[in-house]
């Protein structure tokens, strides 16, 4: 190794490469020594910043760790899904089922209260509560049926040849027109009943006509209403819930 640095003028590596690397290219020549590290201590500011970062991270871990439980995929304790906020005007079209299916489903929910007496099977209790299944009071005209739910019934009643003597409480104050329409449709089309759809329009008519009556019906008074009389109201398409031939909204 030579002790003095070669003259930079004469030692550029030319495009013609020479095998000896005693000729040192200027790039290497002008380089400084390889880097070293100095020993400045870590400042207080850095320590505080580090501490803040660790605290923030630790707090996040504390808040969302889900109990460190491999069975728990929920980061928050006691997770209950928040309900969808109610936004005015936003109707959620959840499913594409025919309208009648949804109408019947909701009617079934309303029927839950009726089921206490008339039973989920619609069979009632012998001697106590009359059945709705294949009952002549349910499956024939809607006017008689619509009339009786408002003030209820008191006294003896013959259903399917059996005699019952009790009280049916008034339903008119407890249920809305829509709910009544739904539950009446439900009972008219369940358990072998093959009745027509009851719409809200029809129930509104019934409420106008019979809703103000306070005195519960007796059998004789109910029989005065023709058995096949129907509440007036437009016919609806079971698929859409609208007048037949109308296109559903949004299509």
């Amino acid at each position: 190794m030579n002790e003095e640095l070669p003259n930079p003028e004469t030692t550029h590596l030319d495009y013609g490469e020479r095998s000896s690397v005693a000729n040192i290219h200027a790039a290497v020549q002008r380089e400084k020594r390889e880097p070293l590290a100095a020993f400045q201590p870590v400042s207080m500011l850095a320590v505080i910043a580090g501490g803040l970062i660790l605290t923030f991270g630790g707090a996040y871990l504390g808040a969302y760790n889900g109990g460190f439980d491999l069975n728990d995929t929920y980061a928050v304790a006691n997770y209950e899904p928040a309900l969808r906020p109610v936004i005015a005007g936003f109707e959620v079209a959840i499913d594409n089922r025919p309208w009648i299916d949804k109408w019947m489903a909701e009617g079934k929910e309303v029927y839950a209260t009726c089921a206490a007496c008339h039973q989920p099977t619609g069979n009632g209790l012998v001697g106590q509560f009359p059945p709705l299944a294949q009952s002549e009071w349910v499956g024939r005209g809607t006017e008689r049926l619509g009339a009786l739910v408002f003030p209820g019934i008191m006294g003896s009643l013959t259903v399917k040849g059996q005699s019952y003597n009790g009280v049916m409480p008034a339903q008119g104050a407890l249920l809305s027109d829509k709910q009544l329409a739904q539950v009446l449709t439900y009972i008219r089309r369940s358990w072998g009943n093959n009745g027509s759809i009851v719409t809200e329009e029809m129930v509104k008519y019934a409420r106008d006509k019979y809703g103000s009556r306070v005195q519960p019906w007796s059998e004789a008074e109910l029989l005065a209403i023709p058995a096949d009389a129907m509440l007036p109201g437009a016919e609806v398409d079971p698929l859409t819930g609208l007048a037949p031939g109308t296109a559903p909204a949004g299509s």
Partner: protein, 492 residues
Amino acid sequence: MSTDTTPAVDDVHLRARIDRSLRYPLLFFFTSAAAWLAASSLLGFLSALSLNAPDFFERFPLLQYGKLQPIHLNALIYGWAMQAGFGVSLWLMARLTRNVLRNPVTLVIMGHLWNLVVAVGLLSILFGWGTSMPWLDFHAGLWPVLLLVYIGIVIWIIGMFAARSERTPFISQLYILASVFWFPWIFLTANGFIHQDDGSAVMKAGINAWYISNMIYMVLGPIALAASYYIVPKVTGRPVYSYALANIGFWSLVLFSGWTGMNRYMGGPLPAWLPTVGSTATIFLAIPALAVLYNQVKTMEGKLAWANYSPALRFAFFGTISLVVGVALNIILAIFPLGKTLQFTQAQGGVDLVSVYGFFTMTMFGAIYFIVPRIVGCEWPNGQMIRFHFWFSAYGVGAIAAFMIFAGMAQGHVIGNYTEEFTTAVERGKPYLAALAIGWFLIGLSNVSFVAQLGLMAIRRGRRDEEGPTLMHKKPEDYFTNELVAEKAAKA
């Protein structure tokens, strides 16, 4: 500390020998990597375009986003990033351990094999054998081969370290060691767990996400840090500001990064503490990021203006800033209150690009601009072209990052508003996708400059080095590199 930065004569000769021994392997890695980067930029452009103009791309059934995007990403990671990393870490390790590379031919062969496997892998995605697992998209049979080739390359790095002359390693060597230690382990783990027949399907997705984050912060990141920790003190002629801080930065990175990644699936069907631990570790990554930034800024104190002139310094410093920005953005994405709207939008892709392109790639550019003149014996042809490369890359990655985040906010807002139709989110996102295409186009342009200059250097057609290094602007009077050159300038 002495201000004398002139190296000893022996040192200079040794460095020349080291550089000479590394010439062909490094040129191979750098030119391959640059070619893959150009391809990846084009693919990134096409990928963003395919979402903007899907009807146009109907005539090319293979050019659909579900294939273009993984091919673009995998070319960027395995084609460009890993190979640039190989070249830079080989040079750094050789220089810092003062070891001449004994067997360059083996490395070149390994490099060819790497290119082959990557090419086969990308073609496998194109022709329908892709796995749809981000960053692990190659056909499942290829990963063992890739791993073996990787080991065949880094074994030389480890060997050089083992044969080092100085006992105390410089911080860069520690980072490189960590990286070559980490990749085989995470690659083997991720592929091993994911491609087994049984095992929890959701955990496999979680491991995939863990792999991505570890690739960024423990494989690619340390190589970039090794490079910037070398370049900043080297170019400015100063020692690294604080050894303690450098160590804190290293060990905190190593300690925390391994836990990150699963936060990408926060709120998902994973045991909740796994993503949350990931989020916490991501928050903790602010410590190494800020430590590195502080250390490098303090090292450059007073000479910050040199970033105007030195390509290596400018690119490397941009990289360090991008590291901090990337970590900050990842933190935002990782915590529920801020991140839940941005999850599953374009935002995460943009933030990953800040890390992979803004941080890693720009630092690699800096290292390559520093290294290549030393291994080919001539200087970069044109400082203006380097400036062009820098600004178009900076604009490109900045535009991509900004627009992807805004896209995330727009899409996230609409998708989060469950009363709005999903197609509204798609329509809102479209202008941002156009911006993404433009961003890749700018990057592609910048790569043209880079590839052109690199090609010229590879065939030794660079500038002759009478006036010193190629700088990005005309240097001021007091920009002396060492006494030797100062003397010469005084004599002239």
